[in-house]
Amino acid sequence: MREYVVRRLLLIPLIIIGVSFLTFMTFRVIPGDTTVFICGLGCTDEVIHDLRAELGLDRPVFVQYWDWLKGVPQGDLGRSFQTKLPVTKELQTRFPVTLELLILAVIFSLVLGIPPGILSAVRPGTAVDFVVRVVSVFWLSIPSFYIAILMITFGASWFSWSPPNFATGEVASVFHNPLKNLEELVPPAIVLGVGIAAVIMRLTRSSMLEVMRNDYIRTAYSKGLKERAVVWRHALKNAMIPVATIIGLQVGGLIGGSVLVESVFGLNGMGNYLVVAIGTRDLQVVQALVLIFATAFVLINLIVDLAYAWLDPRIHYA
């Protein structure tokens, strides 16, 4: 086990360096010239030349990459081509927003997903089971950004409710003004959590059904335990192992979903920043954000894999 952890940890920097190289090359070699985009179509060659020199785009690609990579461990992710400000400065306010949104979404998905899943597995074939299955198929099929739009559209006309920070996109700090912060982030987090909740609901149900067929569950029943005790103490723990994995697998989707939901709610998070940066072809920013998203994704997957072995002692990584 320890050997496996060490091997995985050693691999992480390699993957991240590979990802950064891939990201850098993708954004430097394939696309058209950023400078044309910055100074517009009526640009003279001379201006473009100066601009390239100013942004360091006239140097060899590998020199540019090394320059950029050197800065990354020191927290220097480059400067935005558009605003000339360091990307990290912008991220200081945006990173916490996205992180909190993701955490809240996972919490909501667990709350919305696990109890109905258990209920429907314990009473298979009943009306409850049917309702849970229909609801989960619907939740699974409706894209999060559509739910978000409907929420804002009908929220405004039926309940005269609109996201409190819709105009500015500013999100109050969770430490200074936690209530306002939650008021702003809970609606998008619910929207984001619904899709994952459906997956969790379905998996909880099928995993529970499988566990309930085991011999030890029959033993528990036959020694006279109440159903509540059997479900909570004996079945649930084992049924939750695949659920823990699926949450890890859904993180990539959650990150993608956060890009969309932030865009609908106009939240100043990282996802919205990415969309704006792609729209203005601010490749330095896109590059930094893609690197951060990928790194976070790799690290979360590592944590999930390790948590899996910890949750289920039957699993051994050779």
Binding site: L22, P31, R133, S141, F145, L209, L249, S263
Partner: protein, 341 residues
């Protein structure tokens, strides 16, 4: 099943052994109503996509200054948008764009992915290592982020791949096969296809790894068959079913992906009817600030209904193949369907 029966059959049983096809289909449909509903929705969708010109009552891009922002009525069942364009017609034509991008992306993705998966799994050694490490890198990106990265690079009109396609292939820039801005939409499908190829390659490689250990492969090699022949004659036919299954899983994901990136304003450009791009920009602000809900409601409903149909079909197929797990484990229809779009 009937042909494998070991007990001798009586004359009567032989006479009614196999019912005609339609009655067996009917029985299947009765047992799986949700899957049947899903198939019907998809058939309607395909008809809309193929014959949009005849199904849609108006021109999807036709501007009518006398019918701006009209609520749903008999003459415009889904209402009209800020330019007086008929939302129903746009939704019907949106099916064409969605289906086209979905199908092209899935074909490109599964072909490219299967190729790399086959090569990687069959030849092993350093080829395998290189391809698998490359896939590791690509899988390190969240799917939508990878897609946005790809499209931000190849999507613009001055990108190298797009210039290459415009200059060296006969792919037209304008309307083709009833699809406006064909080249741009084709390049988008390629981008989605790349994302699909990554997943396909991994799965196909795994299947090939176990297939090539079979004795009949060894026998073929002993008889002097070349690598090419073994791949084409013995391995490829065996992974075809898997690839087909992957394609059906990826199709709704590709359709969702198109809608998501168009929704972000980075996909299908504005005047072209697309479910994703019709829910964003001016339409979105019309819906929120003026309560013109129908301009975003119907395209989104069409998109959701499509994904729902695929999920219902997927559920039924799983019920048929494994009746013990009604409702199924994993996501709906596939590992990725609940991918947060």
């Amino acid at each position: 099943m009937a042909r494998e029966a070991a007990i001798p059959l009586s004359t009567q049983e032989v006479l009614k052994a196999r019912k005609p096809l339609w009655s067996r289909l009917l029985k299947l449909a009765r047992h799986h109503p949700l899957g049947t509903a899903g198939i019907m929705i998809i058939i309607v969708l395909i008809i809309c996509a193929l014959f949009a010109e005849y199904v849609a009552p108006y021109d999807p891009q036709g501007i009518d200054p006398h019918a701006l922002r009209q609520a749903p009525s008999l003459s415009h069942p889904f209402g009209t948008d800020r330019l007086g364009r008929d939302v129903l017609s746009r939704t019907i034509f949106g099916a064409r764009i969605s289906m086209f991008i979905g199908v092209v992306a899935v074909i490109v993705g599964t072909l490219v992915g299967s190729f790399f998966g086959l090569v990687s799994g069959y030849f092993g050694k350093w080829i395998d290592s290189i391809i698998q490490r490359a896939i590791d890198m690509l899988l390190a990106f969240p799917a939508l982020v990878l897609l946005l990265a790809i499209l931000s690079v190849i999507g613009s009109s001055d990108s190298a791949p797009r210039k290459f396609l415009a200059e060296h292939t006969p792919i037209p820039d304008g309307t083709f096969l009833g699809i406006p801005v064909f080249l741009q939409i084709f390049v988008m499908s390629l981008g989605i296809g790349v994302a699909i190829a990554v997943g396909t390659a991994r799965v196909v490689r795994g299947a090939v790894l176990s297939l090539k250990e079979n004795v009949y492969i060894e026998a073929a090699r002993a008889m002097g068959a070349s690598d090419g022949r073994i791949i084409m004659k013995h391995i490829l036919p065996n992974v075809m079913a898997l690839v087909a299954a992957l394609a059906t899983i990826f199709l709704p994901i590709a359709i969702l992906a198109e809608a998501a990136i168009s929704f972000l304003g980075l996909g299908v450009p504005n005047p072209v009817p697309s479910w994703g791009s019709d829910m964003t920009g001016q339409n979105q602000s019309d819906a929120v600030t003026r309560n013109i809900w129908w301009v975003v409601f119907f395209p989104g409903a069409a998109l959701s209904l499509t994904v729902l149909a695929f999920n219902m079909i997927g559920d039924s197929l799983r019920d048929i193949s494994d009746p013990r797990l009604r409702g199924g484990r994993g996501g709906g229809g596939g590992p990725n369907t609940g991918s947060g779009f």
